[in-house]
Amino acid sequence: MSAVGIYFYNIFHSLYTVVVGMKITINHLFTRSSTVQYPTVKMNIPERARNRLYVNIDDCIGCDQCSMACPVDCITIDTIKSTPDVDLGLTSKNTKKRLYVPRFDIDIAKCCYCGLCVWPCPTDCIVMTDVYEFSEFDRKNLIYSFSNMTVEEITTAEERLKKYDEEQAAKKAAIAAAAAEKAAAPMIPLPPKPESPAS
């Protein structure tokens, strides 16, 4: 095509594309908009959405697996051993619970919603729910405490554990003392060996 031809072609082609574009836009002007007016209308989120964490503290055996799996270290767990004379009950999977859990804090502001804490839990007590509207005005309110032991219960458990430990230590000491006594007592001389028949 000659230069003049290209010139005219450019002009008419660009005019045509402008008109086509404007036709598309005017069609969009009269289509229904797809905005969801959020606080009054909420969109449906999937069934298995990974949002805020929830811990069923009655099932927690205090194994610390979720806390170790967390990549941002947002779970803090403290445990107290229970003594054999106390029955803490069974978990939902019918295993015996052996640890008190006086402290189970999740700093939900740090949580990155990866779900890595959910898989290692032996009793499936930590789950991700579909709650996503939990903003707070004060950052301290974002540290969620799931443990439900009162201060008296915690001190009782600690004291019981201390007492049990002392008892065990005393028992061990008694056995050790008895063994030491036995080792230190004078030995009863053995009767002389019988002569050999040759004498």
Binding site: I11, I24, T25, H28, L29, F30, T31, S33, T35
Partner: protein
């Protein structure tokens, strides 16, 4: 105009009042066009704009204006203080001066000078000065680029505007915008875009040329006011950079207001010259001094809507494409139209 003069019997006060009337119009109109642009832009993009300030966002333009009014006035340390302060004022003065010659109605025109159309092109250059000052005084490389490109763009698009105006003047015989509008009075057939009130044989020959001229006038005056798709000077990052970068608060509001006032000016000039200004398209039905204002504003508003529509359709032109369009496309076609219209009128 005369009856207000007899009412107050003091020429100075009357002149001041009448010259402030377009300012009132600009402020009211700016709120309306802000709302329109925001809603039309949103619906073109399949979304809704503000729904919470007032019913469906009706109070949003007022909120915008209040926000701009109470912003901190920051002047960069090394900026040229005098030019920095002067630039938005000059840009707005240039825009506002064009309202003096717009024929809003058969009884009201700010200043009935015999050089109306020429005056329009002249004060358009004042806006160029304002923008260049803004770009230079900001002491900012990108503002300078924006300002210089804007100056180049506006100067090169004034030529097609002026030639298109000359074509209309050839047909109507006067530069006075009020006379041009009166010339087209009497119904849609008399509009210049359809050839003017001339015998049918001449009209048929003139029509293709006047339609092309109207289209080119519209395009070149949109380009002169830095409106998409020609808004390279102010939109190198969508209004943050360009000559506007260092302006905040009230000074930015002046630039912003002058941009929206320019939208109306451009449409109004096109309407006054080609589409019969304040005259009703039905001849005598719905015509009269007050109806004149309605027709003028309605016709101009339709073209404002078209400008908003084009803004959200087309991408921006590169700076070399801008220059190409002006010098190699608009001006040659306008010269052809000029010669043809002259020939047809002479024969």
């Amino acid at each position: 105009m005369e009856f207000i003069q007899t009412l107050l019997a003091n020429e100075l006060v009357v002149s001041i009042l009448l010259s402030l009337l377009p300012l009132v119009f600009i402020i009211v109109y700016a709120l309306v066009v802000l709302y329109t642009e925001m809603k039309v832009a949103a619906h073109i993009q399949d979304r809704v704009a503000y729904m919470r300030t007032g019913w469906h966002g009706l109070l949003q333009p007022i909120a915008d204006m209040l926000k701009l009014l109470q912003k901190e006035d920051i002047i960069p340390d090394k900026a040229d203080k005098l030019l920095f302060r002067l630039a938005p004022i000059i840009a707005f003065v240039g825009t506002y001066a064009a309202y003096a010659v717009l024929p809003f109605s058969s009884i009201y025109i700010g200043s009935n000078i015999n050089l109306g159309a020429f005056f329009l092109v002249a004060v358009g250059s004042l806006v160029v000065v304002g923008i260049l000052m803004a770009g230079w005084a900001s002491n900012n490389k990108w503002s300078l680029f924006g300002g210089v490109r804007s100056a180049a763009q506006m100067i090169s698009y004034e030529i097609p505007t002026a030639i298109a105006i000359i074509i209309v003047v050839m047909i109507t015989g006067s530069l006075n915008l009020q006379d041009v509008t009166k010339f087209q009075d009497g119904g849609i057939g008399n509009w210049v875009v359809f050839g003017g009130p001339l015998p049918w044989s001449q009209k048929l020959m003139l029509m293709p040329f006047t339609i092309i001229t109207f289209f080119i006038l519209f395009v070149s005056s949109v380009a002169e006011v830095n409106r998409t798709p020609f808004d390279l000077p102010e939109a190198e990052s969508e209004l943050v950079q360009g000559f506007n970068t260092e302006y905040s608060g009230m000074r930015f509001a002046m630039f912003y207001l002058s941009e929206y006032a320019n939208l109306f000016t451009v449409s109004a000039v096109g309407v006054a010259l080609f589409l019969g200004g304040w005259s009703s398209p039905f001849g005598t039905f719905m015509s009269g001094p007050v109806w004149g204002i309605f027709w003028f504003v309605a016709k101009a508003y339709i073209f404002v809507l078209i400008q908003i529509w084009v803004r959200w359709t087309l991408p921006r032109l590169r700076v070399d494409q801008l220059m190409y369009v002006s010098w190699k496309v608009l001006i040659p076609w306008l010269f052809v139209c000029l010669l043809s219209v002259g020939l047809i009128l002479v024969l």
